[in-house]
């Protein structure tokens, strides 16, 4: 099975988020970048599917400039076979999805995996857009995927439960925790890291570069006032504050 996993390079979850002076751009200075956590669940699932089937290939694809390559090398160290970087600064979901689907139209895959969203811009749209551009089914918030021949059982999360779906490959999924467990995620070992250095990382040029949305500025939410501490022996006071002051119960 030929699996393509879309990888986004995002600020580490512990990062403090800052913006350039006029709020026009994300300030990446001093920020550690990691594989988008939702993409990592998908990458791990891809590795497991390849191992079970005993063949096939896992390709990772990223839209970005050269600064995303360390994160791509990490995905190769985890076990992906090859990497494609589309050489363009990602501007919005539409342009990213257009470039990836244009690649996929000439390099067909059996299964396309994205994360359900990236933890930086939280657009959550690239997977669905690729599916539409490729005329393929799309199952988002995917928490179960069992391939049996071309017929596949999928589970997606819904409000307060889950939904069981059958589909034929190829299709697109948006992955999250549950697709694989947290404990199944793989930490690259020294051998993987060494091998990743010689695995192919091919750079291709963008085809369209057309955006549908544009960021104007960013602001950090207003700081909270100070916390009102209540004595632990006076729980009634807390309940009274919530009822009469905050008016939330």
């Amino acid at each position: 099975m030929n699996i393509v996993v879309c990888i986004s390079s995002v600020p580490d979850t512990t990062s403090k988020i800052n913006f350039t002076e006029n709020g026009s751009n994300f300030d990446s200075s001093g920020v550690q970048f990691v594989i988008n956590p939702y993409d990592e669940f998908g990458l791990t699932k891809a590795m497991m599917l390849k191992e079970v089937s005993g063949g096939g290939k896992v390709t990772i694809i990223t839209v970005g400039d050269a600064t995303v390559e360390p994160v791509m090398r990490k995905a190769l160290a985890i076990g992906a076979d090859e990497a494609i970087r589309i050489n363009m600064t990602a501007t919005d979901s539409y342009s990213t999805a257009t470039e990836i689907s244009n690649y996929l139209k000439s390099n067909p895959a059996d299964l396309i995996i994205t994360g359900k969203e990236s933890i930086d811009y939280n657009g959550g749209a690239v997977g669905g857009m690729i599916a539409e551009m490729m005329k393929l089914p799309f199952i988002n918030a995917c928490i179960g995927l069992e391939v049996n021949g071309s017929k596949t059982k999928l589970i997606r999360e819904i409000e307060g439960g889950k939904e069981n779906i059958l589909a034929n490959l190829p299709f697109v999924i948006g992955g999250q925790k549950g697709l694989v467990q947290e404990s199944e995620l793989r930490i690259p070992n020294m051998r993987g890291i060494m091998q990743a250095r010689s695995k192919p990382l091919n750079i291709i040029e963008p085809t369209a570069n057309e955006s549908m949305t544009e960021s104007l500025n960013f602001k950090k939410p207003a700081e909270k006032g100070s916390c009102k501490l209540v004595d632990s022996n006076d729980v009634a006071k807390l309940v009274s504050l919530l009822q009469n002051e905050a008016k939330v119960i």
Binding site: T14, K16, I17, P37, Y94, I119, D120, Y121, N122, G123, G124, A125, G128, A131, E132, M133, L136, F138, I139, I143, K153, R156, E157, E159, G160, G161, K162, E163, N164, I165, A167, F171, G174, K177, G178, S211, M212, T213, E214, S215, L216, N217, F218, P221, K224, C227, L229, V230, D231, S232, V235, A236, L238, V239, L241, L242, Q243, A246, V248, I249
Partner: protein, 314 residues
């Protein structure tokens, strides 16, 4: 030109987030000087559909045959009705997250999700949205004349208009390449993303056997239960309860964090809640810096007292 709103139902009923989306659509329609048409997919009876009128829909198009898990079928059914729409509004539900991006690509209309305010400009459409897992508010515009907006739950108020709507049933043969086998839902469970009150607990609870008081507190408050990432990772609680940057986002009126220290990743997912309460034995817990109210104390003493006190007033 009009405004379309996808009005999602669960087992034949609408939820608060649905009415929020209709209210948002109606306010958008006022800016554009036009009217709101709602689209309902799946089986919903007329008395439920007519509720949409009270939030500003003047017409409801009901398409019974299309299934929510079939993103191609849903997208095509909505696209068939979208020719004259200047704006298409969704609430940020699991299903909408599949349909809105597809519709954006199909119709070449800019889509913006996590929207928290009415558009500040309609030419081009410009809105504020949450980004960086609520660590930032981003102002975004679309490069298309039309717009697709998905509204963050509990971010836009309900506005009752006292109006009524006409209901039209439409047959649709749109179907994608998937088969929906069925759903498994826990009945009576309030969805975390939509809940007005969320009671959340962390490793301070010491073990899964101690969650009874958390569930009881949530129940008497009519809220949902949630947990921190470590708690779901070690299997004390299901993944579906994990809230934070890599879990579900919470935008509750009241978020109560019990035995949760308040790591930056946790706060990122919950700090757009209006009021936050921290209960922790550690006075240095970072959550006290983010919370509105706090008690430094042992959850096993404080929570039962809270339950007792709340029972007195409800």
């Amino acid at each position: 030109m009009g405004v379309l709103v996808y009005t999602e139902s669960w087992n034949g009923s609408f939820r608060k987030s649905t009415f929020e989306a209709v209210s948002y659509a109606n306010e958008t329609a006022k800016l554009l000087g036009t009217e709101v048409t709602a689209i309902s997919l799946g089986k919903v009876n007329d008395s439920e559909l007519s509720k949409l009128g009270n939030y500003g829909a003047s017409k409801v198009v009901s398409i019974e045959a299309v299934k929510k898990g079939d993103s191609q079928g849903c997208t095509n059914a909505i696209a068939d009705l979208a020719n004259d729409a200047s704006a298409i509004i969704f609430s940020n539900t699991y299903t909408a997250k599949m349909i809105a991006p597809r519709l954006s690509a199909k119709l070449k209309i800019g889509a913006i999700n996590n929207v928290v305010e009415i558009a500040s400009n309609i030419s081009p459409f410009t809105v504020k949205r949450k980004a960086f897992s609520t660590k930032a508010i981003e102002t975004t515009k679309v490069n298309s004349k039309k717009v697709i907006l998905s509204i963050s739950p509990n971010s836009f108020r309900l506005i009752e208009t006292g109006g009524s709507c006409i209901i039209e049933s439409v047959e649709s043969t749109e179907k994608g390449d998937v088969t929906i086998e069925g759903q498994e839902t826990l009945s009576g469970k309030i969805s975390i993303s939509e809940a007005e009150i969320v009671v959340s607990a962390g490793r301070g609870l010491k073990g899964p056997e101690n969650w009874g008081m958390i569930e009881e507190l949530a129940e008497i408050l009519g809220g949902a239960t949630a947990c921190s990432k470590p708690v779901s990772d070690i299997g004390w609680r299901p993944h579906s309860e994990h809230v934070g940057q890599t879990g579900k986002a919470v935008t509750a009126n009241l978020y109560i964090a019990i035995g949760i220290s308040g790591a930056i990743q946790h706060l990122a997912g919950v700090n757009s809640s209006k009021i936050m309460v921290a209960i922790n034995t550690d006075p240095e817990a970072p959550f006290f810096k983010a919370a509105d109210y706090g008690i430094i104390g042992d959850a096993f003493e404080v929570v039962p007292k809270m339950i007792e006190e709340i029972k007195k007033i409800t």
